[in-house]
């Protein structure tokens, strides 16, 4: 099972991250790619592949393939825009790793960029588009079920109905992420958060409160994926040992529970098997959790607790600083920043490198995930600073 790593993440770069409108998505992407190339210690011209990911609700033109010209890149051996909703950043890294392993390319830049905050529109409105859930065309917008928040409120409400979770359980997720954020210089929300503060936060889509929701920013994050042999000689290496995806085929029918049986367990199983590890080996988990309930469900699907036990696991303090399973150690999407698939993966790279500063935890095996749509698209990566996991 455990063999050679597939590839390595050899560069990580950021644009400025901001709550104010400013640079275009295209410019943010270029800033991040340049920063990632410099971080990898090699000139921009050594990049021979470029994968792009924009927000699924933005048009293609916001981040077109011609970004390669903005960057002044020469001939490329790989160039594509990847669209797998919130699982796209994981997918980009997976496809880059496969291309490198197969010899198609040697150094691929993968970049996500988004600017949901504009002069006239706040981020809540930007994301208030209807997600298809029922299968009846346009039905969700017709009944006013607009935005990601109600789609995830459905997950939280169903979880409460089946497993008796309380508002405090969701609050404990938000508080744990805030505690981590307070240790991360790049995080946006760092004021101490009490349960009273959480319970007093206004309802967005009950049972979801404002403080259950992601905190969007404008910005970009880029990753350079390169060959294993090169990684060993460069920065603290970040080896990719496992990769998996899962796209739910669970029907909204009868006793099926599409809110929970969503493809994440499949993504995890495949990634764990490829790396030759299991949940018990994971040092920290970096989940794509745009709402607190999604994180609780992810804990279950990735094998850290049984179905229905995720809420109790969180409320027992396991995911917070000092807990048994550090989760979303950068503050996650609720208190760190929300840049879709980039949030969890950049923190996974920072932890794997041992560059987490005050928030650094053990890092032998780091799980990083992506989640798309209303939770029906998933991607997982198993990262490690060790070339061998045996």
């Amino acid at each position: 099972m455990t063999g050679h790593p597939i590839a390595a993440i050899t560069g990580l770069g950021f644009s400025a991250l901001s709550r104010k409108p400013g640079s275009s998505v295209r410019r943010l992407a270029c800033d991040a790619v340049r920063d990632a190339a410099a971080d990898g210690g090699l000139p921009l011209s050594s990049i021979d592949g470029l994968l792009l990911n924009r927000s699924p609700i933005e048009p293609f033109e916001t981040l077109p393939l011609s970004v390669r010209r903005d960057l002044g890149l020469g001939d490329l051996r790989l160039l594509a825009s990847i669209e797998g909703e919130g699982s796209s950043v994981v997918q980009m890294i997976q496809y880059a790793a496969l291309a490198i392993q197969a010899g198609m390319a040697e150094r691929v830049a993968c970049v996500f960029a988004d600017a949901p905050i504009t002069a006239n529109v706040n981020a809540g409105k930007t994301f208030a588009i209807a997600l298809p859930i029922t299968g009846i065309e346009d039905w969700e917008s017709e009944i006013g079920f607009l935005g990601a928040a109600p789609a995830f409120a459905l997950v939280a409400a169903r979880y409460m109905a089946l497993y008796g979770a309380t508002p405090e359980d969701f609050g404990n997720w938000a508080i744990a992420e805030r505690q981590w954020a307070m240790l991360n210089p790049r995080a946006f929300l760092k004021k101490p958060l009490s349960m009273d503060d959480y319970l007093a936060s206004r309802p967005i889509a009950r049972p979801l409160r404002m403080l259950d929701c992601a905190y969007p920013v404008n910005g970009a994050v880029a990753f350079i994926v390169g060959k294993v042999e090169v990684a060993a000689a460069a920065r603290p290496p970040v080896y990719i040992h496992g990769m998996g995806q899962g796209h739910s085929g669970c029907p909204a029918f009868s006793d099926h529970e599409p809110e929970f049986d969503n493809g994440a367990a499949m993504a995890g199983r495949i990634a764990y098997a490829m790396a030759g590890v299991g949940p018990v080996d994971v040092s920290s988990a970096q989940f794509y959790a745009p709402f607190s309930c999604a994180g609780i469900v992810a804990l279950e699907n990735y094998g850290f607790c049984k179905r229905g036990e995720g809420a109790g696991f969180v409320s027992a303090g396991n995911i917070a600083p000092g807990g048994t399973l550090p989760v979303n150690t950068g503050g996650g999407m609720l208190s760190g920043f929300y840049l879709q698939g980039a949030t969890s993966i950049c923190e996974a790279v920072i932890q794997t490198r041992g560059e987490g500063g005050q928030r650094q935890v053990t890092n032998d095996v780091v799980l990083a995930t992506g989640l798309g749509g209303r939770q029906e698209h998933h991607g997982a990566l198993i990262l490690s600073p060790h070339a061998s996991l045996t």
């Binding site: 029922t134 065309e137 969700e140 009944i143 006013g144 607009l146 169903r158 967005i204 029907p251 909204a252």
Partner: protein
């Protein structure tokens, strides 16, 4: 309709609602009731899908309160339920009642009142 159902009535769900009937999709050859996202029969593979009247009886799965207004036509707060129809499909629909007293497993029924369609809890 970006992904029409291969039936004589692609929008049969809304056509049914307009005459006060809740419809489900079923396969013409094998008569299996399908979930609303099916475009082929998930049992026999047939593309021949037709609309059939549902009983309107359902089990409540959970309720979400839309707490923020996004459009003038639908001022918040209002409730949306996820229900499991007696025939099998899950459906999201307006719900009349109270968020606090809605619980999973409660029997509910489709009702057509004042030109609107919604679910309400009913005696078991």
């Amino acid at each position: 309709m970006s992904n029409p159902i291969a039936t004589d009535e692609p929008d049969g769900f809304r056509v049914g609602l307009a005459r006060g009937e809740l419809m489900v999709m079923s396969c013409s050859p094998c008569e299996a009731v399908l979930d609303y996202s099916a475009r082929y029969c998930t049992v026999c593979g047939s593309p021949e899908i037709r609309w059939r009247k549902a009983s309107g009886k359902a089990e409540l799965r959970c309720v979400v309160e839309m707490s923020v207004s996004y459009t003038l036509e639908l001022p918040a707060p209002f409730l949306i339920a996820s229900v499991k129809l007696e025939e099998g499909p899950h459906l999201l629909a307006p719900y009349i009642g109270f968020w606090e007293s809605a619980y999973g497993g409660q029997p509910v029924a489709a009702q057509f009142e004042n030109g609107g369609f919604h679910f309400r809890s009913v005696a078991a």
